[in-house]
């Protein structure tokens, strides 16, 4: 028998509200806001309150999918990342940095998005960076 709260940051937007995931015997059973957090100060929006509901949702993708004909097939992370690197490398070699764009995500932390734009600007050398909200 184990009950604890695991502190994390809400992934739904860039505000960075703190959430406590209530974990009972290894299963997420609820969310508490944190009254002492300097940003969210004990409040959450409806998405934050329900943030735990997708973790084990049956619709959630649990592995990368690679397009195959009209559909998709499951792939390992290694295979998927390898494929992305190869295809991006080929497009880059053929058409240059302007042919590639990056879409950052609201579901990542600010730090992760910072790393993504670093990758775009310093390695691929493109300023084509936008946000998933404008997809």
């Amino acid at each position: 028998m184990q009950y604890e709260n695991v502190r994390t940051t809400c992934i739904y937007c860039g505000c960075g509200c703190a959430i406590n995931l209530q974990v009972l015997d290894g299963e997420i059973v609820g969310v508490f806001p944190d009254p002492q957090h300097p940003i969210s100060r004990g409040s959450l929006c409806i998405k934050g309150w329900n943030v735990a509901s997708f973790v084990r949702h049956p619709d959630r993708l649990a592995t990368p999918l690679v397009r195959q004909g009209e559909g998709f097939r499951e792939a390992s992370w290694d295979e998927a990342l390898q494929l992305v690197a190869e295809r991006m490398g080929a497009i880059y070699a053929a058409s240059g940095p302007q042919s590639i764009g990056f879409l950052a995500s609201a579901k990542c932390t600010n730090e992760e998005n910072y790393l993504l734009q670093k990758l775009a600007r310093t390695i691929v050398r493109t300023n084509n960076i936008d946000h998933c909200a404008r997809l």
Binding site: E4, R7, D25, P33
Partner: protein, 272 residues
């Protein structure tokens, strides 16, 4: 006070499955189930979380286990009302109560800032109770208003609502599996702010004879809506009309609950 509580918890832990309290770690403070052998130096008393809801969840998941809880006055009141509605089992709960400071009571406009353990099977209180604090001055101001002014007041307040359901989620007395606030019959879906005044008045009505004035709903509201003005008046009316104070007496039957037993409806006598 904290040391005294930790000592008591340590003494009780061997006979309990665990004690629900707040744990402080490097990342923050949140509810936790302390078990035998856990580091009790991490047990703290601030800030406030709805620990009664955690007790209820644990007791339901483990229907044989006995737990303890470190509880403030309002937590104990919440547990009293939960017990009456089969959300917790007082026989399987050891209540480690503690008194709030006068400052805390003033902040909460709390009339009873210490747990009342009368009628609890297993309970004790650490600390010396301070006097109750004066009520929220906003309630008196509100009562000075005309009907039209009251309507305008709530229209303006409820228009701020972002419908996060936080007030409901945090409330120890909101435990229905099917919630009227999610039923399109009562609250039209997809509207922000929720159409005046159903969302808030449905909740206020459902708090009649249940709200124990813990103020968690107001603390959690991102729109800073003074929800407890409504609930305080509801508490006053339930007291005046039905002679019932939610959370005060574990032996008193809630006046708005009817039970079916022996083929009879019980509870109406108190309504008449």
């Amino acid at each position: 006070m904290r040391e005294q509580i930790c000592k008591l918890v340590a003494e009780k832990l061997p006979e309990l499955a665990g004690v629900v309290a707040l744990r402080q770690t490097a990342v923050g403070t949140a509810p936790y189930l302390f078990r035998e052998g856990d580091d009790l130096s991490q047990l703290v008393l601030e800030p406030r979380y709805p620990l009664p809801s955690v007790v209820s969840m644990l007791q339901k998941r483990y229907p044989e286990a006995r737990f303890g809880v470190v509880a403030r006055g309002c937590d104990a009141r919440a547990l009293v009302e939960m017990a009456k509605r089969n959300q917790i089992d007082p026989e399987r709960l050891y209540l480690v109560g503690f008194t709030c400071s006068a400052e805390q009571a003033a902040e909460c406009y709390c009339a009873a800032p210490a747990p009342d353990t009368a009628g609890w099977p297993q309970a004790m209180v650490v600390g010396v109770p301070v006097a109750g604090a004066p009520p929220n001055p906003l309630v008196a101001q509100y009562e000075e208003m005309s009907l039209a002014e009251r309507r305008a007041f709530w229209q303006q307040q409820f228009a701020k609502c972002i419908k996060c359901y936080g007030c409901r989620n945090i409330c120890p007395e909101c435990f229905c599996e099917a919630c009227a606030l999610e039923d399109p019959l009562w609250v039209e879906a997809g509207m922000l702010a929720p159409p005046f005044p159903m969302f808030h008045l449905v909740r206020a009505m459902h708090m009649a004879s249940r709200c124990v004035a813990c103020r968690q709903c107001e603390l959690v509201c991102p729109a800073h809506i003074p929800l407890t003005v409504l609930y305080d008046l509801m508490r006053r009316d339930i007291g005046e009309l039905l002679g019932y104070e939610p959370g005060a007496d574990i032996a008193a039957a809630p006046p708005l609950s009817l039970t079916l037993a022996d083929g009879m409806v019980h509870g109406q006598d108190q309504l008449l």
